[in-house]
Symmetry: C2
Subunit: 321 residues, 2 copies
DNA sequence: TTGTAAGCGTTATCAT
DNA sequence: ATGATAACGCTTACAA
């Protein structure tokens, strides 16, 4: 395969000049530039990335760690990929499936300089293990974490959930059922939001059961079947995810109920499915989080101060409430 | 960051010796090996992968191209990843979302030697575009393709589908409804199998409608609702995917019907959900396909003849038929 | 505007 | 069993 020396020889110039042409340096005469470009074209030459990486001390590849696939994660990854691309970085995805060793592999690749940085969406190893790798390159996370060495683009779910509850209150709903997802800091924040909410408006708890670990369409369908059977029904359901809301909505409609006439339904995340089914939901700026994550990484790589988006939740009002 | 020279200096040996220790060469005395390893440990040294890649002319990274996520693809990718790992290769995933440029990126990385090879699960660009990159490294595909330069681990769906139909016939089913997925060579093969099947057994076509583009749980639910409304019902449903079969099964049970007493249901792919719901299905050895794909790549890289698994469909009999 | 040459951190071929 | 040293293909001072 052709290399820079061969191009130089054939074009009758030095390798430095060829390098300048490739990297669009100024101070190359139009004539030589043209001649070099011609030879490059003829020989179907591409610079060897490994040589480049070795010389530059970086690969321009950023690793992204997640434990598994989900709609939300995928749109986050897509946004991250897009902005990384824009600045000439490639993205390498590590799906760990909860396997610590697979995550360690990614961390080791950071250590051995195959990766310039790591975005840790959902970790598997303990934080102190991950933290011990920060000396090899920037690591940024999406999870809730307060750390000097691992910046986070986490958003406090308390605020988002409260926003939704306030919205439902303003629309006149008073008997709200909460459907939570997996027990974690996020869910805890949401539970706290609901407690503060009923206190603030002097609402009594209606004694509805606590739905936990509900995150899929099928989970939503289950909740819907519960709702149908109740004598004293909630007048609104605030869901952990759009998927759950979607499951409830479609299952209720299938059973002949009307949304929002019989019950209001509110999703969370503003994913495609919420749009598709006209679900009111809480918009969560994952795209901006992704961009912030990238900008933080870029800032750390170039020791510059990154410009960040401010992150805010929004109610997206559609026709399910 | 420490490099091999520093280790050499500190250990009082040459870089060659350090390299030998790292790469587990024989002919290093136990004493020096120990001393070198000590220094390596102390300095937290790891060899720089870029230097290695440059020297060796390969990165030991294989790219995998797919257009989007699906259960089947994910288990294929997992198997591929596992065997690649075993031979010291890393895997870089490219989700193209049908974007030609994103796919080209992967191809370009092969060209610039950041990738040693490419497994193309689901292509986006035309085959001749992809084919033009085979000169830069091995490209193997999972799709149906007859080509000198791009080997394929494709399996003829005709056989698998026929196997399922024969099984249903043997169980006494005579009024079979087919639910196909997206129109492609695979579906065409299945349709052909069904035509040959009714001819072989002298069955008359029951005039059931043609279900096409059904591949999800929700599609299956739709089919189930169609089935419920029929006077002259099919006695078995042969599905394009386990997801569709799962949707039909659960929706029918929800409506009070019994499977397999009222109708037999057969999936395809033998994914987790088939196991979960006790669905009879056609096992499709994706793991072996993945291993074959890797072995072909490995063979091409080492110009050796790969050992391949023979690929066969199997009926996995469970309780839905 | 162009060329020379010194690295980047390894591995591998010869010597010894 | 160990050491010199020449690659691998590129970038970038520094010179001219």
């Amino acid at each position: 395969m052709a290399n820079i020396q061969e191009i130089a020889r054939l074009a009758g110039v030095s390798t430095a000049t060829v390098s300048r042409v490739i990297n669009r340096h100024p101070y190359v005469s139009d004539l030589t530039r043209e001649r070099v470009l011609n030879i490059i074209e003829q020989l179907d030459y591409v610079p060897n990335s490994n040589a480049k990486s070795l010389k530059k001390g970086m690969t321009r590849i950023i690793g992204v760690i997640a434990v598994s696939y989900s709609t939300l994660l995928m749109s986050l990854i897509r946004s991250f990929h897009t902005i990384a691309q824009k600045y000439g970085f490639n993205v390498m995805l590590f799906m760990t499936n909860g396997n610590c060793d697979k995550e360690l592999e990614a961390l080791e690749m950071l250590r051995s300089k195959q990766l310039d940085a790591l975005l840790c969406l959902l970790r598997t190893n303990e934080w102190d293990v991950i933290e011990s790798y920060t000396k090899y390159g920037p690591i940024v996370t999406w999870q809730r974490l307060v750390s000097d060495t691992i910046p986070s683009v986490f958003m406090d779910q308390y605020q988002g959930y409260m926003l939704g509850l306030e919205y439902l209150y303003a629309k006149g709903y008073r008997k709200i059922l909460n459907v939570y997802s997996s027990k974690g800091l996020n869910t805890l924040g949401r539970i706290r939001a609901y407690e503060d909410f009923i206190q603030k408006y002097g609402l009594k708890d209606k004694g509805f059961p606590q739905f936990h670990n509900k995150m899929t369409i099928r989970d939503g369908e289950e909740v819907a079947r519960w709702w149908i059977k109740q004598a004293d029904k909630p007048d609104a359901i605030s869901c952990s995810t759009d998927e759950v809301a979607a499951g409830i909505l479609t299952e209720l409609r299938r059973a002949g109920f009307s949304v929002p006439d019989d019950v209001g339904i509110m999703g969370f995340d503003n994913t495609d499915i919420a749009h598709l089914l006209d679900l009111t939901t809480i918009h969560y700026p994952v795209d901006k989080q992704a961009e912030n994550a990238f900008n933080i990484i870029k800032g750390m790589l170039e020791q510059a101060v990154p410009k960040l988006h401010s992150l805010e939740f929004n109610v997206v009002e559609r026709r399910s409430t």
